[in-house]
């Protein structure tokens, strides 16, 4: 990667940071509901990052890896999140030339729906308050793992997710108040597994690495710093496995 490439990546990262930061400021000033604040920061940051890296995709994009843009939008529709998580693997992987088969797709769908419910339940309790911090670390490690898996575009998408979660985590720390993790739980349940599935099936991300990165937000604890420390071993292992 040349210096010019690095600068381009940084510029693209600045977009989600600015957009998500604006929403975070708005949340600080106006919104009492931290759940909505969390959901909005991650969504806006991701959409801006995706726009910077790949543009705005068509409503039905030819390239299925662009569906993550739509997932970020739909993650705001809280009542539909579990159904969407169940459908997400099928929506992404039906485009594969060699389909993983109905049994694998059904299994992945059930696992994603279960993971979503589990994550949400944890986010509702105080023990999961700092889930955005763990998710930010997982997404940042995911970006690095996707570079190793030879997909810079997917890596930039993961970086946008990391910026979104990171901004909200920063918001939680600077405001000295917990909560809001429940708003970001659908994003952690949709965007991280979606990018990991894309990395594994469309690029060269090993399944072990993909699984570790997707599951990392589960280790979230009340405190952001403790969550980051807890999330470090699985993400480091995932990176090592990704080569």
């Amino acid at each position: 990667m040349t210096l010019r490439d690095l600068l381009q990546v940084l510029l693209r990262t600045a977009l989600p940071a600015l957009a998500g930061g604006a929403v975070a400021l708005l949340a600080t000033w106006r919104w009492r509901s931290r759940a909505i604040a969390g959901a909005s920061v991650v969504t806006v940051a991701y959409l801006a990052g995706h726009w910077g890296a790949r543009g705005v995709p068509a409503p039905l994009p030819l390239d299925h890896t662009e569906l993550v843009f739509h997932f970020a939008l739909f993650a705001l529709l809280l009542p539909l999140r579990t159904a969407l998580c169940a459908l997400m693997p099928w929506l992404l992987l039906r485009g594969l030339h060699t389909s993983p088969g109905p049994v694998v797709l059904a299994g992945l769908g059930a696992a994603c729906a279960g993971f979503s419910l589990l994550l949400e339940r944890r986010a509702l309790t105080m023990r999961g308050d700092a889930m955005p911090a763990a998710a930010a670390l997982a997404a940042a490690a995911g970006a690095q793992a996707l570079v190793a898996a030879r997909s810079a575009l997917l890596a930039e998408q993961a970086l946008a997710v990391a910026v979104g979660f990171g901004l909200f985590s920063l918001f939680q720390v600077t405001q000295r108040r917990a909560g809001g993790a429940v708003g970001t739980a659908p994003h952690a349940a949709l965007l991280l597994p979606a990018l990991c599935l894309c990395g594994h099936y469309f690029a060269a991300l090993p399944w072990s690495s993909a699984l570790l990165l997707a599951l990392t937000p589960l280790v979230a604890f009340r405190n952001a710093y403790v969550s980051a420390v807890l999330a470090a071993p699985p993400t480091a292992l995932a990176l090592w496995l990704a080569g």
Binding site: T2, R4, L62, G95, R150, S151, L153, A203
Partner: protein
């Protein structure tokens, strides 16, 4: 002096015989040719950093060319994206990823033409559908009949070659525009056995 004239006459006769003996170069060839993947090549070239032309290849190609009497015909070529080869394993993986070809979703590059026509001499033209990265576009390519010969089994074989340019951005492949050029020159050289009638 006399010896010199004799040699010149012999050379002239040989040249006339050689010209008369190559009707395939002027008249349209006819027959169904199945692509021999072992003796066919698909190359591509793209500019890197605005400087050198970088060449890569696809190692698996299949298809057929069919020319009827009168010089019209059809052409069907399929290239396996997974066989991309740039002499660097990491780069090949990157080319197969969603950044470029997205080989898992779009495993083939195809060109199908039902409008192949003879232009004269060894020149042909094919108007057809070029499909890459899930996008189809109508293009016209110039084809040259490069020769006719026999393989080791004594069966007749024919060769064709074409070179044409596409813009990768037209096919939704926009990653790293700038450092990597937009225009891709594709060179296809096909050899195939003529089907027995």
């Amino acid at each position: 002096m006399r010896k010199g004239l004799t040699l010149a006459s012999a050379a002239l006769v040989l040249a006339v015989v050689a010209l008369v003996d190559t009707p395939s170069r002027s008249a349209p060839v006819a027959g169904d040719v199945t692509v021999d993947p072992v003796h066919s090549s698909v190359l591509f070239r793209i500019q890197h950093n605005g400087a050198a032309m970088f060449y890569g290849r696809f190692n698996r190609v299949a298809g057929s060319i069919s020319v009827v009497e009168g010089g019209t015909g059809a052409l069907d070529l399929t290239v396996d994206v997974d066989s991309v080869d740039t002499a660097n394993e990491g780069r090949d993986k990157h080319l197969k990823s969603p950044d470029f070809f997205n080989a898992e979703q779009f495993p083939e590059i195809t060109f199908q033409s039902e409008a192949l026509r003879h232009l004269g001499g060894s020149k042909y033209e094919a108007k057809g559908t070029f499909s890459m990265h899930g996008v189809e576009k109508e293009i016209t390519v110039a084809i040259e009949h490069t020769g006719t010969g026999k393989n080791r089994q004594g069966a007749p074989v024919m060769g064709f070659e074409t070179a044409f340019t596409v813009k990768r951005s037209d096919y939704g492949m926009n990653f790293m525009q700038g450092p990597i050029g937009d225009e891709v020159r594709i060179i296809v050289s096909i050899e195939g056995a003529l089907a027995a009638k």
